[in-house]
Structures are given as C-alpha cells and as structure tokens.
Amino acid sequence: MGFRGLPLSLRVPLIAAGLMVLVGVVASQQVMAALGKVQQERLRELARLHVDGLAVALGPSVLRRDVWEVYDTLDRATAAMAGQRMILTVVADETGRVIAASDPQRAPVDSALDPLLPTAQAVDDLQLAGDARHVRVLADLAYQGRRVGQILSELDVADLVAERRRALALLLAGNALATLALATGGYLAMRRMLRPVSVLSSHMAATEGTPQAISPASIPTGDTELARLFLTYNAMTGAAGAAAEAERRLAERERFVSLGRLSSSLAHEINNPLGGLLNATDTIRAYADRPEVVRDAAALVDRGLRHLRDVARVTLEQNRLDRHGIALAPEDFDDLRLLFAPEALRLGQTLDWQVQAAPDVLAAWPSAPVRQIALNLLLNAATAAGPGGALAFAARAADDGLHLTIADSGPGLSPQAQARLLTDGPVPPGGGVGLRLVRDLVAGIGGRIDYARDAERSGIHVLLPAGAAPC
C-alpha cells in the first residue's frame, strides 16, 4: 500500500511531520553554517596573532639565520603554549630552506619546506576542512619591511571540530525531539480534527445495500462545514433509502401490473365458458328427466368449471406472495402459456411455444423469478408485436444453463427500453419498470441478457446459469 493508500487522518499528520523534519534540517544547516563561519573567523584571528607574534620575535634571528635563536624562541613558545593550539612551527628562509622548527625531527635544519606546503593555507583564506584535526597555515615573515623568510604552523583544531560535532549532535537530538513532539501533536490534532471525516468515511465504507444515516450525536458541533456535510450525507442516505423502498414497492406491484394487463383476456377466458355453463344448467333444468341430456350437460359444466379453476389457479399462483424456495417445473411454463395465450389470442397474434426441459433439470432454478422474467418479456413482446403479430417463446435447458428466448415481429426495443433492460443506468422517465425488473431478477440469479434485432424480428435471449441462486 503506497502513501496514497493511507487514510487521510494519517497522511495529513505525516505530511506535517515531514515538513517539520524539512524545517529542522534547514534550520540545522543554517546554524551549522553560522557556527562554521564563527569558528573560521576565530581560527583566522588566532592564526594571525600566532604568526604575527612569532614574526616579531623571530625577525632579527631569521635575518641572521641564527638557528639556535630561532629554535630557542620556538621551543620556549611551544613550552609556554603546551597543550594549546600550536603543534608545529617551521621557520624557513626566503628560499624555502628550514632554519629551525619547534620539532626538528619533523623539519630538520637545512631541509626543504616543500613537503609541508601542499596542505598549507594562507592566513586570510584559512578554512576548517571536514573533520581534519590539524590545519597548516603559511605566512611570510617580514622584518624591517622586507620578506626575510616564511613561517609554517600546524595548528590543533580538534576542539573546534569537536565543538562542531557536539553542536551538530545537539541540533540533531533537539530537532529530532522537537520534530517528534510536533509531529505527534500534529498527528493527534489532525486525528481529532479529521475524526468526523473518519466517521463519515466508515459509514460510507460500511454501506452495503442501504446507506446508514449518522446519528445526530456524532454530528460535530461548532464546525459548520462538517456539520453541513453530515446533514447532507444523512439527507442523501434518506433519499437513497426512499428510492430503494420505492423501487421495491414498484417491483412488488409489477406482478400485479402484469396480471392487470392480462385481466381483460382473463375476463374473456372466464366469461366465454360462463355462457355455455349457464346454457348447460338451463338444459339440465329443462331436461331433468332425460338422463343422457343431463349427463352431457353435466359433463359440459364440469369441463367449464375445470377450465375456470385452472384460470383461477394460475392467477392465484402468479399472485402468491411467498414463492420463495419453490423450484421451477414444466407446469410453470404451462401456467405461463395458460395466462398469456388468451392475451395473444385477443390481439390476434400467433404464438410459437416450445419448452424442452426435463422436470428434474428445471428444478435447478427458482420458480418465481423465472416466471416473472418470462411473463414480463412475453407481455413486452406482445405489446411490441401489436395486433396480428407473431410471437415465439422457447425454453431450453442446456449444460451452461437455462436459455429463454422471446422473439417478436415488432419494430424492436427503443433505446430507452434497451437502457432499462441492458444497463444499470438510471431508469429514463416515462416508461414502466417491467424491463428493469427483468434485469434485476436476471442479475440476482447471476444470468445474462442479450438483445438481437434482424430484419423482421427482435429477439431477447436470457441465460440463467444453473445453481446460481437458491431455489
């Protein structure tokens, strides 16, 4: 998980801590640069005093090339400054030949000064180089206005280096502590300030299905921006809940809607036999003494009543509120045909009905959603095909699932209808919810819907994989 993957309540304090570290580093750099400059000036001043003092004392002796006097002066100066800054001082004549040194072993009399020169610096350009404990300074030795020799001194700057290290260590420790304290404080403050955002975030992250409103106690007081955000969120969750409820109710009603659309056909289906039944009862009353006539009339009444019973049963079956857990059976397709065939007949449409599935195979799918899917698509096809149109329904169980194909000779699905059936986008206004309900039911079973249109007919193909949803 990268930095961007961290929660806001962690990222903001981390950024604050990072900025503090940056400020600390820059401040330390400034302090160290200032300290280095002060030390450098101090060292140059010391070197200048050292060299000038020796030059005054050594001038006449150097002029005379008096080895002993030069050595004596350097030796006494070394003894007087024991434990101080001077480590080695070499005095040479103007040709660079050593007259005497405070440590003759390192710079013997009459030897060349050259080997000591490479790291020597002029007094005015003297600088502390890194962690070097010693620096060498080279200066001309002037007497009576003329250059009579050179002085090279090696100075101990270990104390200055140590002082700089100590200052650096203190700065680092101080800055680290200050940064840690400020970063911790910043983290806690930011966490506290961003806690409402975390609450909002957790509510949104926890939302599955229906968004949950934030309790009024959790709405921050005094922070109008966040309070407005919370109230807006709560209003949004309310709206989402209301929309979901409306959708649920709409879907619930869709079953009645589809039946309502069939009601006139069903009324004919009930009304047509009623005339025959009433004639039969008149016949029975008129020919009560003729057994064969009564028998025929009773048989007619029996058939009519059975038909009425079937119609009532499928209507009731379609309206059963609790069909959950009932497996699909061939009878479901028979019921569908019984329900829908009168409507096709009413519209003068031809209906090609084919079901190829064994009962035990069909039991892998739930009854209620499959019935609703097929009925809604059939009703949609009947509307699209119009009077005298042609319809076809096919149900086929295969290895990859149950294939439902509904075709019609109508002009095809409008873009709005396709949006309802094939996408999860918002339902365009001005249409029913039947096709969107089909989409939701198919999605609930884990199925797929395809739409195809050729020159003469539109076909909707639904594939429902087996065992995708509990029966």
């Binding site: 080895v67 002993w68 050595y71 004596d72 030796d75 005497a100 440590d103 003759p104 072993q105 013997p108 009399v109 009459d110």
Partner: protein, 283 residues
C-alpha cells in the same frame, strides 16, 4: 653661628670623618656571571647573592652577560670586581687575572666535558659524529667548545669541517636542549651542568646520552683582575667564597648549586685546559 656649640662641632667633625667609610661600605661588589651554571634558576642567583652579601658584609651586584667574552671584557675593563669564569678564558687572560677561588664538586675542584647525542643515535665516540650537526656552548667555553675542538685537533680535524653544521647556544643547558629536541645531532656540554640538570630536570637529560667524557679538568673559577687582587672588595669576596660552606646562607646556595664549597686553588689545576689550548692552537 647661632645655636652652634662645641658639642655639635665635634659631632659634625666626627660625621665628616666617618662618612666616606660608610659610603665606601655601601658600595656593592660587582660579580660577573655567565650561563656557566643553571642560568634559568632565579633562586640560585638570589641565594648566591644573599650568601656572598652576608659573607662580605657588602651588597652584591650580580652582573649577567650572555657570553664569556662579554663577562671577561667587563671584568678586564673594570666593569666588574670579579667574575665566575670558565678556566679557558681565565687562561686566555692569565696575565691579567688572578684566582679568587675554585668551586669543589663531588669532593674535587674538577669537572669533565661531556660529549652527548640523542638517545637513539648509534654513535659511540666523537669519530662517529662526522658529518653531523653539533652544538657548542660558547667559543670561550672549555667544556662547551675547547675540549671537543682539541679532541678534533688531535685527530687532525677542525669543527667547521668535521661537522656539517655547528652552532653556539651560549648556555650549557641550551646545548642539552638542542640535542634533546633533535635540533642538533650532538653537543659539547659541561659535565657538571649535565649532572646537575639530571637531578633537577631528568626529563631533559633523559633524552640525551653521554658518549664520551673528558679527563678531569679545572672547575670554572672565580677570578678578579690581577691588578686589584689585593683590593678590599677582592679580599672580602675571596674570604666570603672560601668560607661559604661555613654559613647557613652559603650552604643553602652551595646546595642549590650542588657544590661542596670553594677552595683557593692554584694555576696548576688548569694545566689540562692549558694543554688542550696548545693542541687547538697547533692545528
């Protein structure tokens, strides 16, 4: 003269007679000194001054000069009543100078010259030091120049050619410093001073090694001008020197100088130096 009576007149006359004696008694005796002994010890100077002052009954003025030549010149021209000189300049001006006394060191009025090197130097004798650098004390010093120069003369050599570089430090202690510090490879030093330093500054002498010792030679004497050898100052000083060991002040000074006392001494004590002078002059 008003208020003047016989008593006051006698008193005035007595005062006029006594005054020169008092003034004469208050004149200091001037003693010339060189770095022949521990030149850096102010306490030695003060003790010696106090002891001789007590011994002579006269204030002592110690006149210090850097070189033997300066002190000798000072004495010869009357700038000092006496001087503590080296045997070599004494012999150089034997006709003009007279002995006042010779210090006794370790029971004898004798000392030696030491030839020293650094402790790491492999040289075992003077001949091994050829081509090196060498520190002398003073061109008029017996132990600090004459002994080594005469030894070289006996080898047919001269210091300025035998050594690549020589220098004069004008102090025996300085010779030890020059060798101990590595400035010079070797040095000629007063054996008495080296031994005294070994007692008071062992850290300094420990960095040197004695590779040769001369035969015993006459200890640096106290001398005065022969012409004023019988003067009151010379007599008082001679007496004070010879009785130095008898007084507490004198013993304190002698202890600091690590000397036993002072004896009258005689010219024959310096025959060894005299012989070396001849050797050097013969080259």
């Amino acid at each position: 003269m008003p208020g003047c009576n016989r008593r006051s007149f006698v008193g005035l006359c007595a005062a006029m007679l006594v005054a020169p004696v008092v003034l004469r008694a208050a004149e200091p005796i001037r003693l010339g000194l060189t770095p022949v002994f521990l030149d850096n010890d102010a306490e030695v100077i003060a003790r010696l001054k106090a002891a001789l002052g007590q011994g002579t009954g006269r204030p002592i003025e110690l006149v210090q000069r850097r070189t033997y030549q300066e002190v000798t010149g000072l004495l010869l021209e009357g700038g000092a009543d006496a001087a503590w000189l080296c045997g070599y300049p004494y012999l150089q001006h034997e006709q003009a100078l007279a002995l006042l006394g010779v210090p006794v060191w370790r029971g004898q009025p004798l000392y030696r010259s030491y030839l020293i090197t650094g402790t790491d130097d492999p040289a075992a004798a003077l001949a091994d030091l050829r081509g090196g650098s060498h520190a002398f004390s003073d061109p008029d010093s017996n132990s600090g120049w004459l002994v080594t120069a005469s030894d070289l003369a006996r080898m047919g050599e001269r210091p300025e050619t035998f050594f690549t570089r020589t220098l004069f430090t004008y102090g025996h202690r300085n010779v030890v410093r020059a060798v101990a510090g590595g400035l010079m490879r070797s040095g000629s030093v007063d054996g008495y001073v080296w031994e005294a330093l070994a007692a008071v500054e062992p850290g300094l002498t420990a960095r040197t090694r004695v590779i040769a010792r001369s035969e015993p030679l006459g200890f640096p004497p106290f001398v005065t001008r022969r012409a004023s050898a019988d003067s009151e100052a010379a007599s008082l000083l001679r007496q004070a020197l010879l009785t130095l060991a008898d007084t507490a002040e004198g013993r304190a000074a002698l202890d600091l100088l690590q000397l036993d006392g002072v004896i009258a001494g005689e010219g024959a004590l310096f025959d060894g130096i005299r012989a070396r002078m001849r050797d050097v002059q013969g080259v």
